[in-house]
């Protein structure tokens, strides 16, 4: 019996019945039947068990996990921006960076805990430090990050908090707090900035370290996509909250970040072959196209705002919103693409079948040449 070869008949067949099903059962070239849809390109031939998926679909919740990816990426880059703003005396960017880092990390933590099947056992992840588990490493990146980001944000709020403290704890305590707050804020801001890039990029490892074909295959580029996207969104927040005249570094960071995301995505889609399909087709394909459009438009807006100077405030705000829309859509698109690649057995079976056939051919060749050498 020949392998494959029934894909086209299966795809055009329209009478359900025992024969169709048993054919799918033997699975020769059997994809899920596709109604009367006309195929312009012959389906890749592969065998499956009634067209069923081989691996499980990720059990994570949507929007929790894609939102976690987006917020973590933004918060991580924002923390570096805040520390850099502090170092260069740019108050607007320092403030935007610190608040965004803290807010993003708190929301991240919320989504992460909400996604657990047993949220009350979140602390179980703090009893283990395990380098083979990206989620364990992520716990140990997010926890100190959120702590530092929190301290930096509190220091940022001293104008509001110190009068309250004075009333509650007295003038001496408040005076002491006022004296140490700037130093604590700076140190914490640097602490968050050190963990920030790790927070932005570890989530790429988190999803790539699975059997999900499109995520795993994309592992070399995914951290760059997430890093670029994170910088674009953090820069975008600062573009929304800061005057154009102060936001130059944020704009440059956002534009380079957007470029990095677009370039890394291009490279990945060209490199990974068949499993690039879920990034290009269907719902995830649409989400990613919209993401790239928003990202490109946002970056362009940043450049225009810089040109317009003080009159570019509105353009700057719109561009910041577009950059963040793009960054969020990127995460939802990437997440969806992984889910699609898990659901369709062809993305699991075909690359593995090709690899196995190549291995067998190489082994047979080695055996043949060994026999020849022996004779």
């Amino acid at each position: 019996m020949s392998r494959g070869g029934r894909g086209l008949e299966d795809a055009t067949g329209d009478s359900p019945g025992l024969e169709d099903e048993s054919e799918a059962g033997t699975g020769r070239g059997g994809r899920r039947r596709r109604g009367a849809e006309t195929l312009m390109v012959p389906e890749a031939e592969f065998t499956s068990y009634y067209g069923r998926q081989v691996i499980h679909t990720p059990a994570w919740k949507v929007p929790d996990v894609p939102a976690y990816l987006y917020l973590g990426g933004m918060a991580g880059a924002a923390a570096v921006m805040g520390a850099a703003g502090d170092a260069t005396g740019n108050d607007h960017l320092r403030r935007a960076g610190r608040f965004t880092a803290f807010g993003g990390s708190m929301l991240s933590l919320g989504f992460l805990i909400h996604d657990l099947g047993r949220p009350s056992r979140f602390l179980n992840m703090l009893r283990v430090f395990k380098v083979t588990s990206p989620l364990s490493m992520g716990t140990w990146i997010l926890s100190p990050f959120a702590t530092f980001a929190g301290a930096a944000a509190v220091a940022e709020l001293r104008g509001v908090l110190l009068p309250v403290l004075e009333r509650v704890a007295g003038a001496r305590v408040a005076g002491l707090a006022a004296a140490v707050a700037p130093a604590v804020g700076r140190a914490s801001g640097i602490g968050a900035g050190v963990f920030g890039p790790a927070l932005s990029t570890y989530t790429a490892v988190l999803i790539a370290d699975t059997a999900v074909p499109s995520w795993h295959a994309a592992y070399p580029e995914l951290p760059f996509i997430f890093a670029g996207s994170g910088m674009a969104s953090a820069g975008g927040i600062a573009m929304i909250t800061s005057p154009v005249a102060e936001a130059g570094p944020a704009r440059r960071m956002a534009v380079i970040g957007a470029g990095l995301e677009l370039a890394a995505t291009q490279r990945m889609e060209h490199r990974v072959g068949l499993v690039a399909e879920p990034f290009q087709k269907g719902r995830p394909g649409l989400l990613l196209k919209l993401a790239q459009g928003a990202m490109g438009a946002g970056a362009l807006g940043a450049l225009v705002a810089a040109r317009l100077g003080r009159r570019g405030r509105a353009v700057s705000v719109v561009a910041g919103v577009l950059l963040n829309t793009g960054a969020a859509l990127t995460r939802f698109g990437v997440y969806d693409a992984g889910v699609e690649s898990a659901k369709d057995p062809k993305y699991t079976v075909i690359p593995q079948r090709e690899r196995l056939d190549a291995k067998r051919a190489a082994a047979a060749e080695a055996a043949a040449s060994a026999a020849e050498a022996g004779a």
Partner: protein, 326 residues
């Protein structure tokens, strides 16, 4: 060849060529730990009775999945392994070129117009039904296989678990501790075989334990105990591998050209399976991945790429802030 690079090149439980030969020893169990135990599922004698599925559910108190999910027109209503399906019998029907009938030594039937004087017909009536649409004589063969957790030598589920709920037992098997699992669900997409699942009712991950409770008390797992044809065989993995090699040789001699052992090779992408199979066709026919690789094999490279991306972020933001403020 495909040894996970993040594991030490030498150490307890490793064979000279660097494969993990004894995962329990590699995990840290002492020399007095029991031998690695496993399953050998010989699908050539599986009759698709599903006694294994029932025995597993009964013994382990695994709840019903709730949905009757028929696979095509087959007898498979389990569909896939998951949190509440720890054994899954696959049913595959294949149209095959007819083989010469094999006499089973059964009494034949007489044609209706036969006077009873002649010899018994050796061919059953209705042989025409085996005529294929093109006039060629075709036969049908059924493949049945009881799938289960593979208890991988390099187990992705165990590697990625952030709480330590998944652990390696002294028997070299992989088990979830219900009182530790926080339901993060990471193990679910990490498994290259689609075995472990998250149960809706308790939000936690569950899978086959290779009946850790039974084997700890010198009893074989429930599915193996219930299997009426010994398709599911339980024992020390070394013995099972020898038995499987002999059985494969026998079947190949008889002309089963596509017969193969699946998960038997310690050099494969997961370092060999603790539960391995004798299949009569390619793995994907049964819904198994043809060449699975433990995802964490690439993890060192993944961290390196993430590190490079993180440094890129530092550099970009540094450059962005080194320019003009406006």
């Amino acid at each position: 060849m495909t040894q996970a690079p993040h594991r030490p090149a030498s150490g307890p439980g490793l064979s000279p060529d660097g494969h993990v030969a004894d995962p329990a020893a590699a995990t840290g169990y002492g020399e007095d730990h029991p031998p690695r135990m496993g399953f050998f599922t010989d699908t050539s004698v599986c009759i698709g009775c599903k006694a294994c599925e029932v025995a597993c559910k009964e013994w382990n108190a695994v709840p019903a999945t709730g949905d009757l999910d028929m696979s095509g027109w087959s007898l498979d209503n389990t569909a896939m392994l998951g949190a509440s399906s720890w054994r899954h019998v696959a049913f595959v029907e294949q149209v095959e070129p007819a083989r010469p009938p094999v006499s089973l030594g059964m009494p034949g039937m007489r044609p209706a117009d036969d006077d009873g004087a002649g010899p018994l017909a050796t061919q059953p009536p209705g042989d025409d039904s085996a005529q294929g649409p093109s006039g060629s004589i075709e036969g049908v063969r059924w493949l049945m296989s009881s799938d289960v957790c593979k208890h991988c030598t390099n187990a992705a589920c165990l590697d990625v678990c952030p709480t330590g709920a998944l652990f390696r037992t002294e028997y070299g098997t992989v088990v979830v501790q219900d009182d530790v699992c926080n339901g993060c669900g990471y193990c679910v997409p990490a498994c290259p075989y689609g075995v472990i699942g998250k149960r809706e009712s308790d939000g936690q991950a569950h899978k086959c334990t290779l009946c850790y409770d039974r084997i700890s008390n010198d009893m074989e797992p429930a599915c193996a105990k219930a299997c009426p044809t010994d398709s599911i065989q339980f024992g020390p993995l070394d013995e099972l591998r020898e038995r499987a090699d002999a059985r494969l040789a026998t079947l190949q001699e008889r002309g089963e050209s596509r017969a193969q052992l699946y998960g038997r090779d310690p050099g494969d992408g997961v370092g060999g399976d603790g539960a391995f199979f004798l299949l009569l066709d390619e793995p994907e026919v049964y819904g198994l991945p043809p060449d699975p690789i433990v995802t964490t094999r690439d993890l060192p490279s993944m961290w390196r790429h993430a590190g490079a991306a993180a440094l890129t972020m530092f550099a970009v933001i540094g450059v962005a802030f080194s320019g003009r403020r406006s």
